[in-house]
């Protein structure tokens, strides 16, 4: 098809061709712009054509102005539980979706155990291994109620949560498994006292303590009915044999996933583009049966046309996992086209329990806004 735009000698205009709709791209360019074609060997057209003047020679404005975006953008929630959410975002670009995903994983704050003060550990689990395991236990508390604790701050009730773990396996009793429900919340702060090296210190001086709680955390209205506990009570922390004991205090502070993965509020968050399966020609009878049996997730269905003839249809394109079984073999690539829609993202967020997943996404968007604002203030 001689669709060369703007050839001078014949004053040929692409709009004169009969099958090109006015003001839009020709179908093959629209396919290239909006779909990733997943061929047998590799996908093509994976980059998103963002440049506003990409189709300027054809007179088409590729910029997505804010009003167009506002009109076309849609969100549809597919599944919403206490711990995970699956929703569709339609009309957004991969750059922004990826920013949300990165913020969800690495830049949303949570509370996690950072300092472990071990008074007694005669178990076979080493101190540092025990502390590492305690750090990974998710804590069911809203991190927005707390502040960050930096090096020069004193730990007080606004930036620290104190837990205590004291388990003992008596001689003669069977082995016990220490699970995360053994962590008890101390709303009044640390009970341990710092050791002072000064041998000549007067006994009347007050002993130094580790945290300076002005008031009990129990008085905060959010914690009155919901004590702060680990989200899952059955996480195995250690195992004790007879005669072994663990006595420690754990201080939890606020942090973000970038510093250490224990502060990441999501088990994981991911997205995929909506799959689109297109039958390029009519597939009938035996071929249709073969196609239906090839797909491991049952994307295809057979419909009866009457008189014993059957035809294959695409019933569940969303379930396609891109295994490419349907285009394996001779000639199948001419019959089935696997594509992905570039601006339709199926987002899944699995929360570890600190915050509900829909709140997590809202907070992630807020953080992106804050970053932009910071760049703007720095530029002004």
């Amino acid at each position: 098809m001689a669709e060369g735009a703007g050839e001078e000698k014949k004053k040929f205009s692409i709009w004169d061709l009969p099958d090109v709709p006015m003001g839009q791209l020709p179908p093959h360019l629209e396919l290239q712009r909006s779909r990733v074609s997943c061929n047998k060997d590799a996908p093509i057209h994976t980059e998103s054509i963002q440049y506003s003047g990409a189709y300027a020679s054809m007179g088409i404005d590729n910029s997505s102005r804010l009003d167009l975006f506002s009109n076309n953008f849609r969100v549809e929630v597919v599944r919403l539980n206490e711990d995970d959410i699956e929703f569709d975002m339609i009309g957004i670009d991969a750059a922004i979706a990826n920013s949300f995903r990165r913020i969800l994983i690495a830049e949303l704050p949570t509370m996690a155990i950072e300092k472990v003060l071990i008074a007694n550990n005669t178990s076979i689990i080493q101190d540092e291994v025990l502390a590492h395991r305690l750090g990974l236990v998710p804590i069911r508390v809203d991190p927005r109620l707390f502040d960050y604790l930096s090096e020069n701050d004193q730990p007080n009730e606004k930036n620290t949560i104190v837990f205590k773990l004291h388990v003992q396996c008596k001689r003669g009793s069977p082995r016990i498994t220490v699970k995360s429900d053994a962590l008890k919340w101390l709303p009044n702060g640390s009970e341990l006292v710092k050791e002072t090296r000064n041998a000549t210190s007067d006994s009347s001086s007050k002993p130094e303590i580790y945290t300076y709680f002005g008031c009990s955390q129990e008085t905060v209205p959010e914690f009155v009915k919901n004590p702060i506990i680990p989200k899952y009570p059955d996480i195995i922390i250690a195992k004790l044999g007879p005669g072994q004991e663990i006595e420690l205090e754990a201080h939890a502070v606020k942090g973000i996933g970038k510093t250490h993965a224990k502060w990441s509020p999501v088990a994981t968050a991911w997205y995929r583009m909506l799959p689109e399966v297109v039958l390029l020609e009519d597939i009938e009878d035996d071929l249709a049966e073969e196609l239906k049996s090839k797909c491991p997730v049952n994307v295809f269905d057979i419909e009866d046309l009457g008189k014993g003839r059957r035809r294959a249809t695409v019933a569940r394109p969303r379930a396609c996992t891109l295994c490419r079984e349907c285009i394996r073999g001779d000639d199948w690539e001419k019959r089935v086209a696997l594509r992905r829609v570039k601006d339709h993202f199926i987002f899944t967020i699995e929360s570890t329990g600190a915050l509900p997943p829909e709140v997590l996404f809202t907070e992630a968007v807020k953080i992106l806004e804050d970053k932009c604002e910071r760049v703007i203030t720095e530029l002004s």
Binding site: S52, F73, D147, V365, E378
Partner: protein, 158 residues
């Protein structure tokens, strides 16, 4: 010929990293004994032609840079834009903007504004969608309850 002078415009904004990022955090005082992290945004450009410049942002990475690059591309005054990360161990991003005449800094600011507006719209739409979903689920749960309590007879008759 034209003499292009390269100048460094250093904007030092001493600030605490955490406070700036999380303004809903209202307990920390601004002028406490906090370690002050230096944040610099450098603009490398020329005195005579301010339509092309490279902005070097510290403490940033692909998260914001790719999103800004997307909104910059959508702007019709931009002829070229891109970003690079000079070294992965250093949290610094260089964003290059070349425009059709407008000052590059204004164009970058507009792009950030657009990104903020897009984020706000995303947030509103998402909140509304979650509310609608929860409401429709609540309605479905009520329907199932009422069907269970009075549904045995009607099911048998069908």
């Amino acid at each position: 010929g034209r003499y292009n002078l390269i100048f460094y415009l250093k904007i030092c904004f001493p600030n605490d990293y955490w406070i700036q990022f999380h303004p809903f955090n209202s307990f920390v005082s601004w002028f406490g004994d906090l370690e002050i992290g230096l944040k610099e945004t450098m603009e490398h450009g020329s005195f005579t032609d301010n339509s092309a410049a490279t902005f070097s942002l510290t403490d940033e990475d692909h998260t914001i840079a790719n999103a800004i690059r997307f909104t910059l591309n959508q702007d019709q005054m931009v002829t070229f834009c891109g970003y690079s990360i000079p070294h992965p161990s250093e949290a610094r991003v260089n964003i290059r903007v070349q425009t059709t005449g407008d000052p590059a800094r204004e164009v970058l600011k507009d792009a950030c504004q657009n990104l903020m507006l897009m984020c706000r719209h995303v947030r509103c739409t998402f909140d509304k969608a979650v509310e609608d979903f929860k409401a429709s689920n609540a309605v479905k749960a009520m329907k199932i309850d009422s069907q269970d309590s009075s549904g045995d007879d009607s099911e048998e008759s069908e």
